[in-house]
């Protein structure tokens, strides 16, 4: 038996997981390279226009290196990648590293706030429903969560924009972008408030549907836990209902829910792809979307590698958290 957290075992466990991730990431990247290049397409197709002579486009293909055979392109890409060079984006005329460096923090910010909403709201609503099982609150929330869960994120986003710009316009919530026009003139606190305001709508749009899913899940877990013997025991001891629910039931019900975190991370990035376009959020989702349509290979390759890495790291964190909330789990 070893300590539940910390210590050399934990480090060894994380190290082992990291090593396992390497072949996984190589597989992801190779697969994406193949899928991208096997799909029909031409990165100069976005400049399809009779006023641009074919010779210019040929010149661009040479500059991009897509005139080379596939295996040459792959070896080139891997070599450059290993030396930390992601190459130049075809469409942004900048190094891919810079393009992603600008966008990634924005996506992580939006993803982070959405995770808070997903699990915060989800767990709260689910628990409330379980406690009030079959009551009017439960029924109402069941209807609302099922409704939200079945709504596509982009539609929810557009509806939020519509409402925020018309009947709720007195709230003054910005409907697009990440900062206001006068952002650079604001003080530090003003800047934070500005971004926070811009986060409200996209966070709701990105998080609400998943939060509804978590709520359904949480409700089920909670109902199961509430019927356990130890809850009856806690009640029999005369503990106040509040303590019974929050300390004994909630913590135990959370255990399986935490493992959802690993599942929601990739979903979150996938959802960001749509939500970022709807809300003009300058993040990775939009880069990927435009990059895929334009066959901006270096950009899409680097971005998919990062998404892959984030998902791997995310599921590792979920596993660690899982063990943290459940004392029965050990890193052996």
């Amino acid at each position: 038996m070893v300590a539940r957290s910390g210590g050399p075992t934990l480090i060894r466990y994380v190290g082992r997981r990291a090593l396992q991730a390497i072949p996984l990431l190589i597989g992801i990247v190779t697969l994406i390279f193949l899928i991208l290049h096997l799909a029909p397409g031409d990165p100069t197709a976005i400049w399809f226009n009779p006023s641009i002579p074919p010779e210019v486009l040929d010149r661009m293909r040479v500059n991009m290196g897509v005139d080379q055979p596939l295996h040459v392109q792959y070896v080139r890409w891997v070599k450059a990648f290993l030396s930390g060079d992601f190459g130049y984006s075809y469409t942004h005329f900048r190094p891919v590293r810079d393009v992603i460096g600008d966008a990634l923090p924005n996506t992580l910010l939006l993803g982070g706030t959405s995770l808070l909403v997903i699990f915060g709201v989800g767990c709260a609503v689910g628990s409330l429903q379980a406690v009030r099982q079959y009551g009017p609150t439960d029924s109402l929330l069941t209807f609302v969560t099922l409704f939200l869960y079945s709504m596509p994120g982009f539609w929810l986003g557009l509806m939020l924009i519509l409402v925020a710009s018309t009947s709720l316009s007195w709230l003054g919530l910005p409907v697009f972008g990440m900062t206001s026009v006068d952002h650079s003139l604001l003080g530090p606190l003003g800047k934070i408030t500005d971004v926070a305001q811009h986060l409200v709508l996209p966070t709701i749009a990105l998080g609400l549907a998943s939060a509804a899913g978590v709520a359904r899940y949480m409700r089920g877990e909670m109902l199961e836990v509430i019927q356990q013997d130890y809850i009856r025991t806690a009640r029999a001891k005369g503990l106040p209902e509040r303590t019974v629910i929050l300390r004994h039931a909630l913590r135990n019900a959370l255990i399986p829910v935490v493992s959802l975190l690993g599942l929601y991370l990739p979903l979150l990035f996938g959802g960001a792809l749509v939500i970022e376009v709807v809300f003009s959020w300058p993040g990775m989702g939009r880069l990927m979307y435009d990059g895929i349509l334009a066959r901006d290979y270096p950009l899409v390759m680097a971005a998919s590698f990062l998404f892959g890495a984030l998902v791997v790291v995310g599921s590792l964190i979920a596993d660690l958290l899982y063990a943290f909330v459940d004392p029965r789990i050990r890193y052996e």
Partner: protein, 575 residues
């Protein structure tokens, strides 16, 4: 939009000065061949410039009080696409080009309403009597935003780079008649040229780049140089402030911009923001987060125009939509079939559905945006009966009664490719219904652009028909589309060509007389109309939607941004 009224709405004393100082383009009209204006043309210009000056002076008297109140505020403009680079050597899309030419940089000349060259950075130019050398005399009061003067060296450097084969400059044809350059002094530069119509047009859309910043950069690295994306230094009416990629470009007024060229713009700041989703741009316009949408969706424009706090305007864009037929494949090898298909399409309805009031039926490759356009010419009406008769005549009849015509057992059925845009899906639906009426079966096929383009441009041309729109350019150089000696080149995908048209298209690039050019253009349109390798669908109008408090926005085919220095915000509309 005529030139005098553009000036009237401007009512800028600066422009009054410009008119007097610069005068009509002297020298370009000495009848020496390439690109010279006719004597009558020059006279007309001189008279108009004079009238504009008088009218402007008159308006100044009336509006002297309000003039100073126009300065100030931040104008926020939204467009569907990001401006990806402000490097004039990589002009990839219309918003980038417009920002380069009108906002951040200056061009050597600028275009009048009929795309005739007018003085700008060059205060005048002279053509040698032989017509093979043109000398530009530059202004001496234009500075790069880092304080270095703009000189003849910069002009020569710009030309050297745009013609450099290592630089992927998108429009090399602008300069293919320009052969050598010689810098005579800081304000004088001389080029050796060959005769060419629209000789100076390239200089009206290609911004001058700074030699003192980019001179040492190897030409092959210029396209990806951070100058275009991170730290551009221009010489135009606005200075670069910051860029947040995927979100915005911020510019501020250049107080040192010469009075003669318009002086300091009214707005303190100009912000361009990317909003990819049309509905979101509409909402942002209503809430006042933005002042102007540069390419509004025609469907939402009609809703926006009902809002009294907004103004919707439009101008003819250099763009038309078409269906290209693969004339290498049956049944499109037969021009009668192609003509019948055009006759069977209700193009008025297509315009109504797709563009609403912001478009018109197109009959040929030249639209209302171009000075050679003839609005009376409309060779193909909507005539399903004629289409049926024509198909009957040429052996296409519905023998088995399944609603689709056959000829020797082969049904009249084809695939129509397009990219998955709402407009194209609407067009495809109407076309499918129209053609079903006359016994032709259409299978609409949506493909994203990156996979559709190789289908039509690759040597085996794996398509029947496809739906696309072309952005046009003033020189109307369409030889890549039609020339017989280019049938195997990527852009000649219809495979149709004709020797007379080849001659006409060649001549169009070399005549200098505007009337001859007009006649040649009409001949070009007639020849294409007879053969119908394309079915021309509609001409596009660019829709601008703005808050009523944003004023001075006058736009025509030269582009939305051509008047940017004259835009101003009502004091109460400022944020």
């Amino acid at each position: 939009m005529s030139w005098p009224s553009a000036l009237m709405s401007a009512t800028l004393p600066a422009l009054f000065l410009a008119a007097c100082d610069a005068g009509p383009p002297r020298g370009a009209d000495t009848g020496s061949g390439a690109d010279s204006l006719s004597a009558a043309e020059t006279e007309r210009l001189a008279v108009e410039t004079y009238r504009a000056a008088v009218v402007t002076a008159d308006s100044i008297a009336h509006e002297a009080n309000s003039e100073s109140s126009r300065y100030g505020g931040t104008i926020v403009v939204a467009g569907r696409n990001d401006v990806l680079t402000l490097n004039p050597l990589v002009a990839t899309d219309i918003e980038s080009v417009q920002h380069q030419a009108h906002v951040l940089f200056t061009t050597l000349v600028r275009s009048g309403p009929d795309f005739e060259p007018l003085p700008y950075l060059a205060r005048e130019w002279t053509m040698d009597p032989e017509g093979d050398r043109i000398t530009f005399h530059l202004r001496d009061d234009v500075y790069w935003h880092d304080g270095v003067p703009v000189t003849a060296r910069d002009v020569a450097f710009t030309w050297e780079r745009v013609v450099d084969p290592q630089v992927p400059f998108f429009n090399p044809a602008y300069f293919d008649a320009w052969e050598a350059v010689e810098v005579l002094d800081d304000q004088t530069v001389r080029f050796t040229v060959r005769p060419r119509s629209n000789l100076l047009y390239g200089w009206a859309v290609t911004a001058i780049i700074p030699e003192h910043i980019l001179g040492d950069v190897p030409p092959s690295e210029l396209a990806d140089h951070p100058f275009g994306t991170v730290s551009p230094v221009g010489s135009g009416p606005f200075r670069f402030v910051e860029r947040v990629p995927g979100d915005r470009w911020v510019f501020e007024a250049n107080p040192d911009f010469p009075e003669a060229l318009g002086g300091r713009p009214y707005a303190d700041r100009l912000v361009y923001r990317q909003i990819p989703e049309d509905a979101v741009a509409d909402a942002a316009l209503r809430t006042g987060e933005i002042d102007l949408i540069v390419d509004a969706n025609p469907a939402s424009a009609q809703r926006l125009s009902a809002d009294s706090t907004l103004v919707v305007a439009s101008f003819p864009a250099a763009e038309y939509a078409l269906i290209a037929w693969n004339t290498r494949r049956d049944p499109f090898t037969d021009p009668s079939v192609r003509r019948a298909l055009t006759l069977a399409m209700d193009r008025e309805s297509i315009v109504d559905v797709v563009r609403g009031p912001y478009g018109s039926v197109s009959s040929g490759p030249v639209g209302p945006w171009h000075w050679t356009y003839d609005s009376a010419w409309e060779p193909f009406p909507y005539a399903p009966d004629s289409a049926r008769a024509l198909l009957d005549q040429h052996g296409w009849t519905d023998e088995d009664g399944d609603g689709v015509r056959e000829n020797r057992g082969v049904p009249l059925r084809f695939e129509l490719y397009f990219t998955p845009r709402q407009a194209w899906m609407d067009v495809a639906t109407i076309v499918q219904a129209n053609l079903a009426d006359v016994g032709v079966a259409v299978e609409p096929m949506a493909r994203e652009q990156a996979s559709l383009v190789p289908l039509v441009t690759s040597p085996d041309r794996r398509f029947d028909a496809f739906l696309v729109s072309w952005a046009r350019d003033v020189p109307l150089d369409d030889r890549d589309l039609w020339a017989c000696d280019r049938v195997d080149d990527p852009m000649q995908f219809t495979g149709w060509c004709q020797p007379e048209l080849d001659a006409v298209l060649d001549s169009m690039q070399f005549v200098s007389n505007r009337e001859s050019l007009r006649r040649l253009t009409h001949r070009y349109e007639t020849l294409v109309a007879e053969a119908q390798p394309y079915t021309f669908l509609y001409n596009v109008e660019t829709v601008l939607a703005r808050r009523a408090g944003l004023r001075g926005v006058t736009a025509d085919a030269r582009g939305t941004w051509a008047s940017v220095t004259e835009w101003w915000l009502d004091p109460e509309a400022r944020r």
